[in-house]
């Protein structure tokens, strides 16, 4: 149905994807969503709580399986993905969560290093790579701090550093500014923009109107599990 060309060229491809959590009801969290994201794109997904943003996110990280439809991310067709290969998929995608998901008993450096440790990167390489990434997110000076000693914005930047340290082609951020005040939210968004400039595809979900309006990027609006608009250089309209 899709040529190999499309699969390789597109970073994210969703074709009529639906997700129904409760099999007995017909209420779908997401129904027949189709979208394409090209490499190096910066996409914002907006929508109110319960619109289906988080479900979309979970489908992309393969925390959930779609009820129907096709998902291809970075050339990997989720339909053919075996359980034991899920770790390999996740290594190709950088993920950032609203609640940071940092390990409280590890320092900033160790939290970022952790992403490399689990894939078997040598300590020497870790010592070399982690400080570089921390300077990208502006936290080079705080690498020995623990997450509890940082502000929310700083924590989220640690999480971003962790997500990009393996140089994924795609970064998916689920409400990364959701818990942050405006100033820190902007710090985080600036970092995401910088990463995007380096060539990483960024997909961001948010319901922060101000950020969406100022960024002037492609905006996909989801309402009741359906895409209601998909515009370039768009602003927030729900």
């Amino acid at each position: 149905m899709y040529s190999k060309f499309a699969i390789i060229v597109l970073m994210i491809l969703l074709d009529r994807v639906s997700k129904v959590y409760n099999k007995n009801s017909t209420e779908a969290a997401i129904s027949r969503i189709s979208l394409h994201v090209e490499p190096k794109e910066f996409v914002i997904v907006v929508g109110q709580s319960g619109a289906g943003k988080s479900t979309l996110f979970k489908l992309l990280t393969r925390e959930e399986k779609p009820t129907s439809g096709k998902i291809i991310v970075g050339g990997i067709d989720y339909e053919n993905l075996k359980d034991k290969d899920i770790p390999k998929l996740r290594r190709k995608i950088g993920v950032v969560f609203q609640d940071f998901k940092l390990l409280p008993n590890k320092t900033v450096f160790e939290n970022v290093a952790f992403a490399l440790e689990i894939v078997g990167v040598s300590n020497r390489e870790i010592k070399h790579t982690v400080p570089k990434v921390l300077s990208i997110v502006g936290l080079k000076s705080k690498e020995d701090r623990y997450p509890r000693e940082l502000s929310g914005g700083e924590r989220q930047r640690v999480a971003i550093a962790r997500a990009i340290v393996r140089q994924p082609k795609i970064l998916i951020a689920d409400e990364p500014t959701g818990n942050l005040d405006p100033k820190h939210a902007w710090d985080v968004i600036r970092v995401l923009e910088r990463i995007n400039k380096f060539g990483t595809t960024v997909m961001l979900t948010t319901h922060n109107q101000e950020i969406v309006n100022k960024l002037k990027r492609r905006v996909i609006t989801i309402k009741d599990g359906k895409i209601v608009s998909d515009k370039a250089n768009a602003s927030y309209e729900v």
């Binding site: 993920v95 992403a115 078997g120």
Partner: protein, 330 residues
Amino acid sequence: MSRQTRGRKFTTIMRIFKTGFINFFRNFSLSVAATAVMVVTLTIVLFFVIANATFNHSIQEINDKINVSVYLKDNISEDKKEGLMQDLRSLSNVKELKYVSKEDALKQYREDNKDNLELLLAVSQTDNPLPATIQIKPKDPSRNEEIKTVLERSDIKELQSDETSYSGDRKEAIDKISTATTFFKKAVFVSVVVFAFISMLIIFNTIQMAIFNRRDELRIMRLLGASTWFIRGPFIVETMFYGVVSAVLSIVICNALFVVQEQAFDSSTLGLLDITYANQYFADNFFIFFGMQLLFGMSIGAISALIATKRFLRFSNKSHILWRKRQQTL
């Protein structure tokens, strides 16, 4: 496999071991409980093996002492004696034959009773009342019927001066000991199984607790793309380490008990429970025992960890989200 992949595999294995050791000390109180019950199990196993060998040794020793003594009349010709020896030698249950002449019997008697003047005076060189004897050592003392039948034959019977001695009372004692040791073996086997089961249950719970305590961390690992073995491995290393510590402790305990015993009392009077032999046996096979304990302890640990991680980490097909169900119930 490329050099880089190999390098990464090696690094990963080292990290799995390191994490396992760190977790052992991180869950220290849980680790102690799991290790303690494993020490008990392994010590019981060790005692069982040593006691088993000791009992077998004691029974063997008593068996060796049992023989059938055929007392011969004084006036038997050399031919007839040889003929009788020949007959007996052909029997399947005869392990060894020994002929004790009248002179040797007297010498032995004097040696045995050298402190008893009265008994010594009762015999003299000229008037030797002791008969020549054929001592038969049977292979299996509980099956003496064959030998008995031959000895009861009339042509052989007439060569004998006295009733044959079969050490009958000893046979009965041996039967009793055999019954007792068989019972003992069964009892110990059952307790080994029970304790092994209990240690597995406790380790199982230890891991469940550890998984529960670290569920956030494990979930994050999962989301960051850690492989199944990178998550399970440390638990298995940790429980195998319980096995190693327990093996060392149980060997030390056993050794200490022998040392204390040696200083506390003389064991030579204990009869069936030949502690001196047990001690020797333990010392001779020390490394075999240590290896056995290590193997047994590590197996108990690894098996329980494998089951527990399979059960509680839910790597199964249906839910990729770790502990979705558990998080709701826990």
